[in-house]
Structures are given as structure tokens and as C-alpha cells.
Amino acid sequence: MMEIEQSYIKIYKDFAQLIKENSAEVMNRGRDKAFERFEQLGFPTRKSEDYKYTDIRGRYAIDFGMNLRRVSFPINPYSVFKCDVPGINSHLFFVVNDSFYHDPQGDNTCKEIEELTRQGVLIGSLKEHAEKYPEIVEAYYEKAADTENDGSVAFNAAFAQDGFFLYVPKNVKVEKPIQLINVMRADSDTLANSRNLIILEEGAQAKFLVCAHTMDTCKFLCNRVTEVFVGRNASFEQYKLENTSNNMTNIGTLYVEQAADSNVLVNEITLHNGITRNNIRVNLNGEQAETTLCGMAIGDKEEHIDNTTVINHNVPKCHSTELYKYVLNDKATGVFAGRILVKKDAQKTEAYQSNKNLCATKDAHIYSKPQLEIYADDVKCSHGATTGQIDENALFYMRSRGISEREGRMLLMLAFTNDVVEKISVEALKSRIHLLVEKRFRGELSKCAGCVICKE
């Protein structure tokens, strides 16, 4: 039963020391325990309700290379991904495979960091900051992640050596969006575990844009865990865009802990991928906290996108909204499992969930599983899931005005996904995504080098 896990278990046992030498002490503290947990749990299987429709375990069966010695790669992503879109004036950073990238010229990374450091912001490699500021990192690292119950997360806690770190001190508002490009670049099949930690203190504000790209055609598996702590009255927006390849397995787990009066918006858009599993768990820990989770997936061929979310209303008067839309073609499959738990004393909770899907072909499938568990009695909660095809009457109406069938279908699919894209507050990014989605529907979106956010 545990054959797939055996090779990874052996790697850990043989190389635990090497792994620890190439990471920070704060990150190493829980490593052995996480590994033991992984040994017990294994990777999530289809037998578990949460992974019924997504075979993650099977994807780990490939003989992946893992970069435990932290060998750096001979490419400078800053030269490949030149960001020249007017208006998306962002602070740009890279995680190549599983490490934060330091520009050897000291040019790009340092200039941007200087600007932010002046405000007290800490930004960069998680490993380095865990070494330099252990008191800050240890207060938060592994405090949200569910290493105890999720095999993928335990695996990550055992093996992840680096990733992205952001700390925004009290009342500091980071004006420009922070952009992180996770790029996979290798000559052979590679697995990357990376860990991100984001801390926003009271009153802080930040916007975070993450893009996932692959630069090669070998098989990649990314297992990324992000913990986000949003302090009282703080505001955090995260936009995630995936434009990778059919050979990619992208597992992303996001844990969000929200204090009172805080505001969080997460919008995950998948344009091209192989298998994607986005896990999100939000804990609303203080009153008047607000959270909005959105996502949109456009799948064709045999692409598979799974968005599994959990929102815990732990206290009264919080507000959550979910909007997920899928457009599936060919034999693509989608999963939406949204669980909302309203605790017994979480009165005056408002929780709204909506999942709308468009299956354009007979073989495209969506598995939609809304779950509302409500234990309080003074709440407003709703959920809705609809799945349909293109409205043929609307299509005929358009054709009767001279619009070709192809163009008509495209306009209808664009109209369908429109409102998810509208939930982006950074104007320049919103326009750019509108354009990318249109290109995606027209089949004009290239999958190769360059961040589509920044250039064609």
C-alpha cells in the first residue's frame, strides 16, 4: 500500500541531515515530527472523501528528482520575464523550483527590497529570514498548517527548505502589488516542495500576485504550502494565476488565519494546467472579519482542476463569500468542494457560496459538492451550484445578428466568467486578466516562456 511513499521515506531517512543543513533551524525543528506523520498518513488517497475525485497520490509515483542540496539553476528569470505591462507596477520576485531566487547581480531583488525595508517590511527568502529573524518566523511557522492530518502538508513540512517570506509591520500599507513567479525549470522530472509565510500585523495592507509557470516539458510536481496571518484590521489580497502545462501537477495549500475586522480576498484563476489541486482553509478568528474566495478554471483536453475550500466561522459577525466558476471542454474535469462550518456561537454569520459551471462537451465533467454545516441559529447562509451548457437561444440570437457561431460561443463563455475576473481590485491586473481569458478562449494563449502577466 505504501510503495509510492517508500522511495520518499527512504530519501528522508538517508538525507535528513542534508536537508536540515540546507535550511533554517526554525524550519528544521518540526521536520522529523512532520516526517513521522507523513510516514503514518502517506499521500492522500482517493479513498479519503476529500480526495475522491483527484488522484494526487498517483502523480507522486514518478521518479522525481528533488533538489535537496539547493543547487542553484543557471538561469536568471529576471532577464526572461521582463515585466512591461503598463500599470502593473509590481515588486517582482521569483521562486525557481523550490528556492527563492537571488539575482546574482544584486540588482533587481535588492533595489526593490530596499524600498520596502525602509518601511519595515521584510521580504525574500523564507530560509534566510528564518535564520535572520527566528523570533518572528517561529511565532508563525507551522502554526496554521494542518500537518497533523494532511499527508501532502506533512510531506511539505518534512522536505520544504525554502520559499517566500513576507512580513508587513503594524499599519504599513504596501502600495504596489507584490508579484511572485513560481517557475519550474529543469531538464528532467522534478518535484518541488516550497513553503511560503506571510504575516500582516494589525492595520497592515498588502496585495500579492502569484503566477505559476513551467519552462520545460518534463514532468513537474509542485507541492506548495502557504500560511497567511492577517492581523486585526489588516487587509490582504492574493491573486493566483496558473498557466503551466499538461505535465504539471500543482498542489497548493493555503491556510489563512484572520483576526477581527480583517479583510481577505483570494482569487485563483487557472488558464492552462495538468492537474491542479488548490486547498484553502480560512479560520475567521475575530468578529467582523471578512473573506472572499473566488476562482475560475478553464479546462480542455484532459485537464483537471480541483478547488477544495473550508471556511470556519469560529466567532460571530463574520462575512464570507465564495464564487467559483468552471468552463470545461473536451474531457476536462473539475471539482469544487466548498465547506462552510458555522460554530454554535457564531451568531450573525453571513456566508454565501456560489459555484457555476459550464460543460461545453458531453465528456467534460464537474463534481460540485457544497457543504454547509451550521450550528448557530441566527445566521444568513446560502449556497448554489448550477451546471449547464451554452444557452442555445442566446447563441442563435447572436448568429441572427451576423455573429459567427464560434465568436458567439466565445462571447458567451467570456460573459460567463466575467464576474470572477471583476473581483480583482488591481485595475491593471484586472484588464490584463480579461485579455488573457479572452485569448485563452480563442486558443491564442501560448504556454511557453515568459510570464503571460507581463508579456505575450
Binding site: 442566446a394 442563435f396 451576423g402 455573429i403 458567451l412
Partner: protein
């Protein structure tokens, strides 16, 4: 310009049109009246190319071209326009985007370059006045939240934008109050020219007070059973359709 010869059509295996013959020349207004179920909407659906209907016999030529062989979008680009009885709502597709795509596809078909954004907006503003459609229209999705009257006026607005050679008005008057009716009819009349023609499908004579027909045809059980001038409409108003049925010996 339009020649319909012995047109038979069915839907779900049931034959609705049982041999329609009709000739429409430029500059003419033809009214088609008839009781419910006679096939009026089927005729307009078949002419516009609705895939739900199957033509089993007969031919339709439009300026010499076989209309039945053309896709719905090509029929539109050739100059056929249908104003729907129940215009559908298309949330998420803005009126501006919709019309601009339609206008530019028409232009492409004719070998013209697409219209510039500013020229297009100017055109929209101009044509809106014809049917007194106000500015909030531009940012709204197609027909979304429009009242019945606004939807019908929007149909005529689109007709004004596309300048068809043949317009088929399918029960344009249904659900309209007197004022809306007057605005719609006014719009249709302003667009009338010696080079275009209209087929006005209606139940009631009232619309024909405003859009005066040159010919009135009565469609009954899938066939045109009587054709005459505009006085026929008045006679029908007085005597009802029973009179026609009696004439046919029923």
C-alpha cells in the same frame, strides 16, 4: 428580392408549414396575419435559420441566392433581419460589445474594414434616438433587466444599426402599450426605403394602422389562404378568423 416557393417545414416531426408561396419586392411591406398555431412564428424562424426547424420541401431565394443553404449568421450578413417576439437576455455580454461585433462581422463579410471605436459609438448614439433608447443602454448587458417595451425597441435599434434589406418583424407589437407601439412603429417607418422591405407578422390590426402594409396575407394551418391589400386587415378585425375558416368550407 425574396421568393418563397412551396415551403414545407416541420419541428419535432410535426409539419407546420404546408406549402408557403410568397414574393416580396424592394420597397414593399407585407403583413402576415393568422390565428394561433397557423405557423406565423415558424415561418419567421425558418427564414432566419433557426436550427430547431427542418425544411422538408420547397425553396427560398433571396436576391437570387438560396437562403436555406446559408447559416443564420450569413443570412444576417446578406441583409436579413429578424425582430424576435421574445428577445432573449444575455447577461455578461454588453450591448456595445454585442453590436460592435455584429456590425464588424457584417463589414468583414462585405470586404470592409472594422469600424473605429469612436465612429461606432457615434453611430450608436445616432440610431438610439430613432427608438428613444436612453444612454444607460450602452453599459447594460443585452436585454438584461429590460422591460417588454424596451426589449422591442432594442430590436428596432439593432435593425437600425444593421440596416437590413429585408426585415421580419415577428409580433413586434405583442406586449406593447400604445406609446411603446407608436415609438416602435415610428422607428420602423423611418427605416423604410425603396430598397428595403418588411414582413410584419402580427395578430392585431392595430399595428398596421401605424405600419401600413402594401399586402396582407392570411396564414392558416401552414398555408397562405388569402392575400389582398390593407383593407383585408380591417375586414379581419371586423369579422375575425372564423370568417376565413368558413370561406374555406370548414
Amino acid at each position: 428580392m425574396l421568393e418563397i416557393k412551396n415551403l414545407h417545414a416541420n419541428i419535432n416531426g410535426k409539419e407546420i408549414l404546408k406549402g408557403i408561396n410568397l414574393t416580396v419586392k424592394p420597397g414593399e411591406v407585407h403583413a402576415i396575419m393568422g390565428p394561433n398555431g397557423s405557423g406565423k412564428s415558424t415561418l419567421s424562424s425558418v427564414l432566419s435559420g433557426n436550427p430547431a426547424f427542418t425544411v422538408t420541401e420547397g425553396e427560398v431565394t433571396f436576391y437570387g441566392k438560396n437562403l436555406l443553404e446559408l447559416s443564420p449568421e450569413d443570412r444576417s450578413r446578406e441583409g436579413v433581419f429578424m425582430s424576435f417576439q421574445y428577445p432573449v437576455e444575455i447577461p455578461g455580454v454588453s450591448m456595445v460589445n454585442f453590436m460592435r461585433t455584429a456590425v464588424n462581422e457584417h463589414r468583414k463579410y462585405k470586404g470592409l474594414d472594422p469600424m473605429s471605436a469612436s465612429d461606432f459609438l457615434k453611430l450608436m448614439r445616432e440610431k438610439k434616438e430613432l427608438v428613444e433608447l436612453d444612454n444607460k443602454l450602452a453599459n447594460r448587458s443585452v436585454n438584461e433587466g429590460f422591460s417588454g417595451g424596451e426589449k422591442k425597441r432594442n430590436e428596432i435599434f439593432q435593425m437600425a444599426m444593421l440596416e437590413p434589406r429585408l426585415s421580419i418583424l415577428d409580433e413586434t407589437d405583442s406586449g406593447l402599450d400604445i406609446d411603446a407601439l407608436r415609438i416602435v412603429a415610428n422607428g420602423v417607418n423611418k427605416l423604410k426605403s425603396k430598397d428595403n422591405a418588411s414582413i410584419v407578422i402580427t395578430h392585431y390590426q392595430r399595428l398596421l394602422d401605424y405600419i401600413v402594409p402594401d399586402f396582407v396575407h392570411v396564414l392558416y394551418k401552414g398555408r397562405i389562404v388569402k392575400s389582398a391589400g390593407k383593407e383585408l386587415a380591417l375586414e379581419l378585425e371586423e369579422k375575425g378568423y372564423d370568417w376565413i375558416k368558413k370561406e374555406l368550407g370548414e
